[in-house]
């Protein structure tokens, strides 16, 4: 049995043949990329997080170990041996005062440095903001102000909070679109869907760094904590299924924030909040509108977030991003196809799908995005120093 623990905030890579982590500077060789398993990558693509116990290797023998997680490796099987959020559960928060006290204690002992907050205009980032404000901490607010029709409610809430912030960075809809600048995605160890929105992450990180922030807070994980059905077996399984490592923040941390000496973290995933939420919601049914959370923070949140539970759809924004990036997808896929020789990556096929992405079914869209992420991964490794050479038809 081998103990495999990763205390970092980002993914590390375990070589199962040598039974040790590879170096932090590890990048796959071109031979490893040529023999990488696209089908396994597509199968993994349905997951936001690569759990080593369910992960299908893309590069033979290399398994990603999520940050802040510990596993045992026996008989070619990984088993989770510890979840960060199950330790030290001493009752859940029922009132706002308890949550604020826990947050205050947490801020005192954490070394997060100057804070920035991604302000989307939704409930999750709003909760983070009002807690910080109540504790006298004013983060730098960074928000994409999207001028699309479906974001009109979120714009009102963003403006409301931004009028309270001391330092505010408004990014426009044309900046940081998803799938933008695919050709300049940083080289990374394994193909990852998060690499498709690297430009949006990089812009937030850059804006935060310009104003001196060391940590950018996000609302990742709040949906699971505040919405999930917490009755019966669901409540029992929750601490194993939801842990700080089970969040989609690893790739941005490793590829975007860490190189800038910064962190990208979700307060919802940090001790003591997951277990406060878990304990307080234990036994309650699913709450997709987060009505429970809205009532707890009713006195601090604006009435738009307490009286209403609107949620803007990102579908149009994503499909628009894909369509705008169709030419770049063609470019990236051309290089990847030449190198990897697999029809799934054929540039004409991916370009056609990008142009008509709104008509793809959910499964087809996932398949398409996995293929684009794989192409971006290959492109980054073999063509990182060249300027995009191939134009779309």
């Amino acid at each position: 049995m081998t103990f495999v623990g990763n205390t970092c905030r980002h993914t590390r890579y375990f070589n199962v043949k040598e039974r040790r982590f590879v170096d932090e500077s590890f990048l796959p060789s071109l031979d490893q990329i040529r023999t990488a398993n696209l089908k396994n990558h597509i199968d993994n693509g349905a997951c936001f997080v690569f759990r080593p116990d369910t992960y299908k290797p893309v590069i033979d023998g290399i398994i990603p170990i999520p940050g802040r997680s510990a596993w045992t490796f026996t008989n070619n099987q990984f088993v989770l041996c510890r979840s960060n959020n199950t330790s030290g559960m001493h009752g859940g928060a029922k009132s706002l005062d308890e949550i604020l006290a826990a947050a205050s204690r947490f801020l005192k002992i954490s070394n997060l440095g100057p804070l920035a907050l991604e302000m989307s205009g939704g409930l999750d980032s709003a909760i983070i903001f009002v807690i910080l404000k109540q504790l006298g901490v004013m983060p730098i607010l960074i928000g994409y102000m999207r001028d699309r029709y479906e974001f009109r409610t979120e714009r009102i809430i963003q403006e409301n909070f931004m009028s309270q912030g001391s330092i505010v960075v408004r990014l426009t809809d044309n900046q940081g679109r998803p799938f933008e600048q695919l050709c300049s995605s940083p080289r990374h160890v394994l193909p990852d869907l998060a690499s498709l929105s690297h430009a949006a992450h990089a812009l937030v990180a850059q804006s935060a760094a310009e104003h001196g922030a060391k940590t950018v807070l996000n609302g990742i994980g709040a949906d699971a904590l505040l919405c999930n059905d917490m009755q019966g077996q669901n409540a029992t399984n929750f601490p194993q299924d939801f842990a700080a490592w089970a969040l989609a923040d690893s790739w941005p941390n490793a590829s975007i924030y860490q190189p800038r000496g910064m962190k990208y973290i979700s307060p919802f995933a940090l001790s003591p909040f997951p277990h406060l939420a878990w304990k307080s919601r234990r036994g309650l049914p699913g709450d997709p509108m987060k009505l429970n959370a809205r009532s707890i923070f009713a006195n601090l949140l604006p009435k738009e977030l307490v009286t209403f539970a609107y949620k803007a759809s990102h579908d149009g924004w994503i499909h628009d991003g894909i369509k705008q990036a169709a030419s770049e997808i063609y470019t990236v896929a051309s290089i990847a196809y030449k190198f990897y020789q697999n029809e799934e990556l054929h540039p004409d096929k991916l370009h056609k799908q990008a142009e008509k992405s709104a008509f793809l079914s959910d499964d087809e869209l996932k398949h398409f995005l996995s293929c684009v992420a794989f192409s971006v991964w290959i492109f980054g490794h073999i063509n990182s120093t060249k300027i995009c050479p191939t134009k779309a038809p």
Partner: protein, 189 residues
Amino acid sequence: MLAAFRLPVYEFGSWWTICPYAGSLLRHKIKPLSARFLPIRLKEVVRICDDPFSCRWNSNSSNASPSIKSVQLQSIIYNRLLKLGNNRFLLSRLYAGIRCPIFKNTEDAISSLEFETDYVENGNFRCLQRAFFAAKTSQSFPRSGVILIGANIQTFAMHAWIIEDGTQPDHGDRDWINYRPLLALLHRP
């Protein structure tokens, strides 16, 4: 019959409407014909769609308890609308226009559907039938309700909902804000 008012919108370089007969999303190169004057009730509803925070919304569904007879009737009406489906839009519109008021308002009518098996399983995909059902069976709809059919023009997804007397009566539907209203159906004052 429910009167139809087209609400053309210019977005992404084209004009967009929904066909009042087929219920399909249409793209036009030139501005399509539409009513020169909208009823006051419809103007107010369009304003609410543009500013959803001015709409009254309640997260709890109505507690109205219908009689056994009305439960049977509601099942018949709802199942007929399901049979007509989305593809026979004009027939559905005609059927919904024939009044059968068994509920006080659209809120009670929509809440009553929570007991329909099909609705529980496919509620999100039955927005058009839900809206037609509420319009047909509610006493208050001819006076104060409007059915809106909208589209997300980027994804071509469509949705139907009701605004009645400043309220969105379907408590489970918070998705309506993502769709631009392109067609309104209402009883003429």
